[in-house]
């Protein structure tokens, strides 16, 4: 890479950030503002396991690297709940299509994050954004409510859908119709792909709100079909964000996500470290929380009990 990406230093910094506790995260961040406008373009890729996220990312990276871009990717794979370890295999498929020195792939385990991302994703993304990348991509685990978490971390979200993966009611239940900026039906060569795309498109035509109408595309990564169109759609969405002030709109929610996650993790750390044998401490912690909640609730329901001078009646 021409203006010297320090791969070794970045590799070490990302490893440290992946494992950092909440205290370490805050220490490393220093006293800067919580939310800084970010350079480059953040792209999320989500969809159910086996839909072809890594394969599509490889093909798409190949397409966009050809334009001279530098791309940094964070690929999340699941942590084993039993051992806390993980097998991180996304890069096999990504590299098969796009083994390139302007591409940087970092595999990370989901750790305790239940939203398809990883514990310190905002810090991993920030570390990558301090390097000369034009785009940062995030690939989710792709289970549960993965689409909601990543929605709040990226500028453009690509949602992948299997052909013949049930009717659009399934997609409605999973909530994916609310979050995507671009929809891709993968394995376009399989039966049912065009029908899935048509149904999705018809539903989005009726449900999409706001000033961006998400397109529905068909891709077949092995042949490269639809990849150039996907790349064009990403550019179109990026221009839309630039024109409409969308990045500024997304910023506060990205910051809010960051704060929520840090607080949730801090609570988990406190519980995990309360007492190795547990029961006594957890029990008193639980009682304390319940008592405080009850007190707050009764105060809300009957404010005169708390403050006899307050004449306003509860609504």
């Amino acid at each position: 890479m021409t203006d010297a990406l320090d791969r070794h230093g970045l590799g070490r910094r990302l490893s440290a950030a992946t494992d950092a506790s909440v205290a370490e995260v805050l220490e490393a961040r220093g006293s800067g503002p919580l939310h800084r406008p970010h350079r480059g373009h953040r792209l999320g890729i989500t969809g159910p396991p086996g839909v072809g996220k890594s394969t599509l990312i490889g093909a798409l990276a190949n397409e966009r690297l050809a334009d001279g871009r530098r791309i940094g990717i964070v690929a999340v794979d699941p942590t084993s709940p039993r051992s806390g370890g993980s097998i991180l295999g996304d890069r096999i498929r990504i590299d098969a299509a796009a083994d390139h020195e302007r591409l940087y792939v970092r595999s990370v385990p989901s750790r305790l994050a239940g939203d398809g991302l990883t514990d310190n994703l905002p810090d991993l993304v920030a570390a990558l954004e301090r390097e000369p990348f034009d785009e940062i991509w995030v690939e989710t685990v792709g289970v549960g409510q993965a689409a909601y978490g990543v929605r709040r971390c990226v500028d453009t979200l690509i949602v992948l859908v299997q052909p013949g993966s049930g009717d659009t009611v399934q997609a409605m239940k999973a909530g994916i119709l609310e979050v995507g900026d671009v929809y891709v039906v993968t394995r376009a060569d399989r039966p049912g792909a065009e029908q899935t795309a048509a149904e999705l498109d018809a539903t989005l035509a009726l449900t999409a709100t706001g000033d961006w109408r998400p397109p529905v595309l068909l891709t077949a990564a092995p042949t490269g079909a639809g990849i150039a169109e996907l790349s064009t759609a990403i550019e179109a969405h990026r221009h839309h964000l630039d024109e409409s002030g969308g990045i500024e709109r997304l910023g506060p929610d990205q910051a809010r996500y960051d704060v929520e996650r840090l607080l949730q993790r801090r609570v988990r750390e406190l519980i995990a470290h309360s007492d190795p044998t547990g029961v006594q401490t957890l029990d008193s912690m639980y009682r304390g929380v319940v008592e405080r909640l009850s007190a707050e609730l009764s105060a809300t329901q009957n404010p005169t009990n708390q403050n006899p001078d307050d004449k306003e009646s509860p609504s």
Binding site: R7, H8, L10, G11, R12, R13, L14, S15, D19, S80, R82, S83, G84, G85, S86, I87, L88, G89, R91, I92, D95, A96, D99, Y104, V105, R106, S107, V108, P109, P276
Partner: protein, 140 residues
């Protein structure tokens, strides 16, 4: 760490790689799973990777160790090339393990080249995990 439930390889990142031309990775996958079950985050490269590629992935992924699985017989050359590629990338400190069909008479040469440990199919998985943990300075 006082927590006795912490797995021995917790927070360790290990690259399991297949250099060279042999096309069998059952052994590599078994090792990858054993390391994961000991708490490690294991990155697997897939088959037939060049030493340069392996070194680049090891650096990009910020790993603590690389495990090379070699069944092709060209282990001496591949270990030498991988160590050289790691050093060239400024990552000579990454620990290298070797596993596969490695005749005993080649062990000294591999140790000389900087292999931290050499494993064969004779070694019980628990021993492999314990040795890796010891080499990485993990609590056990």
């Amino acid at each position: 760490m006082s927590d006795t439930n912490t797995p021995v390889l917790a927070r360790k990142r290990i690259l399991v790689a297949k250099p060279g031309l042999d096309g069998h990775d059952v052994g590599a996958k078994v090792i990858a799973l054993a390391l994961r079950d000991a708490g490690a985050d294991v990155i697997y490269t897939g088959l037939r990777r060049s030493p340069d590629y392996i070194a680049r992935v090891a650096v990009d992924e910020g790993v603590d160790a690389v495990g090379l699985s070699i069944l092709s017989g060209s282990h001496v050359q591949l270990v030498a090339d991988t160590r050289e590629a790691l050093a060239a990338a400024g990552a000579g400190d990454i620990v290298v393990f070797v596993g596969g069909t490695i005749p005993a008479e080649d062990h000294p040469a591999l140790t000389e080249l900087g292999a931290a440990a050499i494993f064969t199919s004779e070694d019980p998985l628990d021993d492999v995990v314990a040795r890796v943990a010891a080499e990485l300075g993990a609590d056990s």
